[in-house]
């Protein structure tokens, strides 16, 4: 079919894409409106915080550590071409804090958390647990979505901050042990060129990515098809859409923050 009428296929997928964007936007608005209205479920929120924030620390930390190290090697090699090896510490710091920390952290959390949320909520949907929630006078949006969205939005900036520090530390390790930097100079250079806004913009990005990750997990879980296949598809869709939205919104946010 796709081979026979490529234009039709493009048209159809564009239309369904627009429909999807509309539904996701409405869902996001509902999630936010439930966040600010009681009843609140502090236990569910605490659990989500543990699952999304605390348990993602190792993944985000390791990602940052290796990325910081590789970044130092690359910038050293690139800088050597025009005798600017000395920029390694500051570029590693700026690159980590403004871009790689939030984006890679967000993507790793998308893989870990969006999939877990979609699978859990999708299974609840398939086994009628969502229907049961409703009959027990509990709104699924409030009980399932709101705590997860709030937890992810609050914990991602913290994860990004931790990732920033570990990433810079990774660059420092490689810089001092492999590239012959003096430890004290390396740290001085890192701190001197880093501005507060560099760090803050990365944290804001983190919050947006956290919102996206939890929202996509919940949305696809709630709209999961029937059976194990439905849940599998929901999980995949959650991770893919969260990742793409993270990358796209990262571009928009960078455009917004750093071009004036």
């Amino acid at each position: 079919m796709i081979l026979l009428s490529p234009l039709g296929a493009i048209g159809r997928s564009t239309l369904s894409m627009l429909g999807l964007i509309g539904r996701v936007a409405i869902y996001a608005a509902q999630a936010i409106s439930h966040l600010v209205r009681p009843p609140f479920y502090p236990r569910e929120f605490a659990q989500a915080l543990l699952q999304i924030g605390w348990l993602s620390l190792p993944v985000v930390g390791l990602t940052a550590l290796f990325t910081g190290g590789a970044l130092a090697l690359q910038i050293y090699a690139g800088g050597a071409r025009f005798n600017a090896e000395a920029v390694v510490p500051s570029i590693v710091a700026i690159g980590m804090v403004r871009e790689l920390g939030p984006v890679l952290g967000g993507l790793m959390v998308a893989g870990r958390v969006a999939s877990a949320i979609a699978a859990e909520i999708g299974t609840m949907k398939v086994t009628e647990q969502i229907d049961a929630l409703v009959t027990l006078s509990t709104h699924p949006m409030k009980y399932l979505t709101a705590p997860r969205v709030l937890a992810a939005t609050l914990s991602l900036p913290v994860l990004v901050a931790v990732g920033d520090v570990i990433g810079i530390f990774g660059g420092y390790l490689v810089g001092t042990s492999r590239l012959g930097f003096n430890p004290a100079t390396y740290l001085d250079n890192t701190v001197d060129f880093l501005e507060l806004w560099d760090v803050l913009s990365g944290l804001v990005k983190g919050a947006v990515f956290g919102f996206i990750v939890a929202l996509m997990g919940c949305y696809h879980g709630m709209n999961s098809g029937r059976g194990a296949r439905g849940v599998g598809r929901a999980t995949t869709n959650a991770v893919v859409s969260a990742s793409i939205l993270i990358l796209a919104s990262n571009y928009l946010l960078t455009e917004l923050f750093f071009t004036a």
Partner: protein, 248 residues
């Protein structure tokens, strides 16, 4: 009183309910029978508003279920789902006491737990089950926990979707008696789906048979056996010959 008038529901091209008319008086026990896949579970979900029917009206005490205030409306209901639908992230007693731990019926934790254990006892489960998780229970035990959850907040209207499937005959008898008790003692209105004819006789005041998306026969349980309706007759006798096609 629950009244359904001309209720239709389709899923895509599949027409499941095609004009269901049914009235259940207050304090009455209605049992719905009918072949697998005829839309019995869908019918209950339409009454609860979990599935939106396409046309027709469903009212509870004269109030349309689609326009009723949701929280007050649902607070009157208890529902046992066909698959149990227990929350697998919560311990058994927290499942049973779900309504009592949050919202308008909130009680102190210890009291809620006590009520949960009492309801578990009524469905034949010992207190040591209370702290297990649903995944640690057998299918029949999960079903009974679901039953305990449905009756925990003592609702006015209770729906049971196949309460005795997967239970041994003795336990099925206990559950049948329990449902009868709930209707008689608590004065609750009950709607039960079952395939088990001995359950029908034990639980029902009235029986409705669903086939081809409509109620083919409805009447008091005592008149079920001498009814002349060929569909009902075939269903009760479990015969392969008759108007209901058994595809092989």
């Amino acid at each position: 009183m629950i009244r359904l008038e001309g209720v239709h529901k389709s899923f895509g091209p599949k027409r499941v309910l095609r004009g269901v008319d049914l009235t259940i008086e207050r304090g009455q026990s209605m049992v719905i029978i009918g072949g697998s896949g005829t839309g019995k579970s869908v019918l209950l979900k339409c009454v609860l508003g979990l599935i939106r029917h396409d046309s027709g009206t469903i009212t509870l005490e004269g109030e349309d279920v689609l326009t009723a205030e949701r929280d007050a409306f649902l607070a009157r209901f208890g529902m046992l789902f066909q698959g149990g639908a227990l929350f697998d992230s919560l311990a058994v007693w927290q499942n049973v006491a779900f309504r009592l731990l949050r919202g308008s019926l909130k009680r102190p934790m210890a009291e809620a737990r006590e009520i949960a254990i009492e309801k578990l006892r009524r469905v034949g489960l010992t207190p040591d089950v209370a702290d297990l998780f649903p995944s640690e229970l057998s299918g029949g035990m999960q079903k009974r926990v679901g039953l305990a959850r449905a009756i925990a907040a003592e609702p006015d209207v209770i729906f049971f979707d196949e309460p005795t499937t997967g239970l041994d005959p003795i336990m099925a008898g206990v559950i049948n008696e329990l449902i009868r008790e709930i209707v008689v003692e608590m004065g609750a209105t009950a709607m039960t789906i079952t395939h088990d004819m001995s359950s029908v006789r034990a639980i029902a005041d009235r029986v409705a048979m669903l086939h081809d998306g409509v109620v083919k026969w409805e009447g008091p349980v005592a008149r079920m056996d001498d009814a002349t309706d060929p569909y009902l007759h075939q269903f009760i006798t479990g015969s392969a010959d008759g108007p209901i096609e058994a595809v092989r």
